[in-house]
């Protein structure tokens, strides 16, 4: 595995910057079970970083550590050159880390527009008084943030369903709305937990296109978990492979594909 801690240029010519997030010797235990065992890796600015591995490997736990749902027993999380103390998820969100969930976590009672607008909550801080009168800052902020949200809505091509309650949408569109909500926050780091789970080929292609476009146009760094190997190999710049809570591979898709340990984990190995 070659060392890639320094800025580099990808095969398709994108410039990858300094380290954005650095996970150092993370260990996470639930009682006696070690979900993550002493894993270190980094995510560099502008990268699309994939985490793969068989079921129960600890991928989602890793994402939950990054987004603050779990605090690891050991290890340090460094974000933008600073060590991050143990935090609540909403504090992590305010640092500029947004995410989507494996099983969609949208606000079913609200319209698509309102759902995406919630992504802007950290950009809105009008006083309650101003909001009660709907004058001054509250009104101005509402319009400014609506403009930002409309850009995301245009980008993801969900204009037509703006005012539809989310509960009425089909699965594929819900996934897209959830991505829109995360994007509306203008995150530095976007975490996607199985963005293509349960989609057909066409929807997967659309979603892949959106992920690449987000990375390309907004320069958003993306970390994603995905099971579809074809998608992972095509999209990502670097891949981490996990198995039973350990890291068994880390590198470009090409390197990972030829890693013997990874092949063993995925295809099984004969015990003789």
């Amino acid at each position: 595995m070659k060392d890639m801690l320094t800025p580099y240029v990808t095969d398709d010519g994108r410039q990858i910057g300094e380290t954005l997030m650095d996970m150092r010797n993370i260990t996470l235990r639930f009682g006696g079970v070690e979900a993550i065992k002493d894993i270190s890796f980094n995510i560099q600015e502008g990268e699309i970083r994939a985490i793969i591995g068989p079921n129960g490997a600890g991928k989602s736990s890793m994402l939950n550590v990054i987004s603050g749902f779990y605090n690891p027993q050991e290890g340090e999380v460094w974000f933008r050159g600073k060590k991050r103390p143990p935090m609540k998820p909403f504090q992590v969100a305010r640092l500029g880390i947004a995410r989507t969930f494996q099983n969609i976590a949208l606000f079913e009672g609200m319209s698509v527009l309102d759902n995406v607008m919630t992504g802007r909550l950290n950009h809105m801080n009008a006083s309650m008084f101003s909001q009660a009168l709907w004058k001054g800052r509250a009104e101005r902020e509402e319009t400014e943030n609506r403009e930002a949200v409309e850009r995301v809505i245009d980008f993801l091509e969900i204009q037509a369903i703006r005012k539809t309650p989310v509960g009425r949408l089909p699965y594929g569109l819900k996934k897209r709305v959830e991505l829109a909500r995360a994007l509306a926050a203008e995150p530095k780091l976007l975490l996607l937990d199985e963005p293509m789970a349960g989609m057909n080929v066409e929807e997967k292609e659309d979603m892949s296109r959106f992920i690449l476009d987000v990375n390309d146009e907004f320069g958003t760094t993306i970390a994603l978990i995905e099971h579809d190997m074809g998608v992972v190999m095509d999209l990502s710049d670097r891949v981490i492979v996990m198995d039973y809570g350990r890291k068994i591979g880390d590198g470009t898709p090409h390197e990972v594909r030829n890693n013997q340990e990874v092949i063993d984990a995925y295809l099984g190995v004969s015990h003789d």
Binding site: S67, K88, P89, F90, A93, R94, A98, R99, F101, A105, L106, F107, E108, G109, M110, D114, M117, T118, G119, R120, L121, N122, M124, A126, M128, Q131, A132, L133, W134, A138, E139, E141, E142, T143, R146, E147, E150, R181, A182, A185
Partner: protein, 358 residues
């Protein structure tokens, strides 16, 4: 054919996010307001004010308050009666301690005090949800009623244990006390209802409202987009209690005039307001009005039909009334769990296309 949005184009986001985006709705809103302010005060009499209109307006404020907490933020509360009592007693203490200050300021301050009390009783909501939170707020209900019964400082050591509203005037017109005219009673309640409804609507359509609704719909997802659950729930409790406190103050000072806490603000009041928002529609300001109107008017209508038209004995009608209200609540919960507001929304959607099927 009246209710159309074709051709009603929006060219700015301000226009698109206004309260009534459809022009017809907007005109109707102004017509209703004009009627309520300019016509009703001249035709209202004591019977209408006391039996229907004033309690409807006051309950509408309480229902808006509870709807913010339960309908918008998803935190079930059975403490409404207790919080109304806080508003009433705060208003009473302020009225008797500072007789020179305007009653309007007293009522608003009573709302503020109730907001602080509500936020304090909202603290358990950070740890417990659903039924368990309902039981915790039930504790608030019983504790507050007990407190106002037990500590005689709250009722100024009066022998009866009641509180009586002294006469107070607004622009020289008495609005509390025995000399109040029906129209003055009506107008002060109407002003408070209008302001409360507009404020509630503004709060719920802006970022605070989205914060509350995100907690209601999925608290984990809300946290991940940066909502502080502590702050969201406590603001919901505080704002909700503010409205409920104002309703309690008006209920005591303007409507009843004399109050005994267990009778006026007991557990049945909590349930009454809860039924109002369930029947009217959770998460809807219009629903709060619809529910309040329904539960205030229904007993009166049943009484008129039973006693005046059919000539049945009063006690029989009173019992029937309970049965019918109960049956209607069950009917609503089964047939239209989203309440009258949902029926209204459906009717409007149909009207937009009428007379064409698609």
């Amino acid at each position: 054919m009246l209710y159309r949005e074709a051709g009603d184009f929006k060219t700015s986001y301000e226009e698109d996010s206004q309260t009534f985006p459809i022009a017809f709705d907007r005109y109707r809103y102004w017509v209703v307001l004009a009627f309520a302010f300019l016509v009703v005060p001249f035709i209202i009499n004591d019977y209408w004010a006391n039996a229907i209109v004033v309690p409807f307006l006051i309950y509408a404020i309480a229902a808006i308050g509870l709807n913010i907490l339960t309908g918008y933020c998803g935190q079930v509360s059975l403490g409404t009666g207790g919080f109304m009592a806080v508003g009433a007693y705060a208003c009473y203490k302020l009225m008797t301690s500072f007789p020179d200050v305007s009653i309007v300021i007293h009522i608003i301050l009573a709302g503020g005090i109730t907001a602080a009390v509500g936020a304090a009783f909202g603290l358990p909501s950070l740890r417990i949800k659903g039924f368990y939170l309902a039981v915790a707020t039930l504790a608030a209900q019983f504790f507050l009623v007990w407190l106002f019964n037990k500590v005689s400082w709250f009722y100024n050591y009066s022998a009866s244990g009641q509180i009586n509203a002294p006469e107070r005037t607004v622009f020289g017109v008495p609005v509390t006390g025995p000399n109040t005219e029906a129209w003055a009673q009506y107008l002060i309640c109407l002003v408070f209802v209008t302001v409360c409804a507009i404020v509630a609507r503004n709060l719920t359509r802006g970022s605070l409202g989205r914060t509350w609704m995100s907690i209601r719909d999925m608290d984990i997802a809300a946290e991940i987009i940066g909502v502080n659950p502590l702050k969201a729930k406590l603001t919901a409790f505080a704002v909700s209690s503010f409205f409920i406190g104002i309703a309690g103050a008006l209920f005591f000072a303007v409507y009843l005039g004399a109050v005994e806490v267990g009778e006026a603000f007991g557990i049945q009041k909590s349930f009454l307001v809860l039924f109002m928002i369930i029947i009217g529609g959770l998460g809807s300001i219009f629903g709060s009005f619809a529910g309040a109107a329904f539960l205030v008017v229904l007993p009166v209508v049943l009484k008129v039909i039973g006693v005046d038209l059919l000539g049945w004995p009063t006690d029989l009608v009173a019992h029937f009334q309970l049965v019918i209200v109960g049956a209607l609540i069950m009917f609503f919960l089964i047939k239209e769990p989203h309440g009258l507001a949902q029926l209204w929304r459906l009717a409007k959607e149909k009207l937009r296309l009428w007379p064409f099927p698609y």
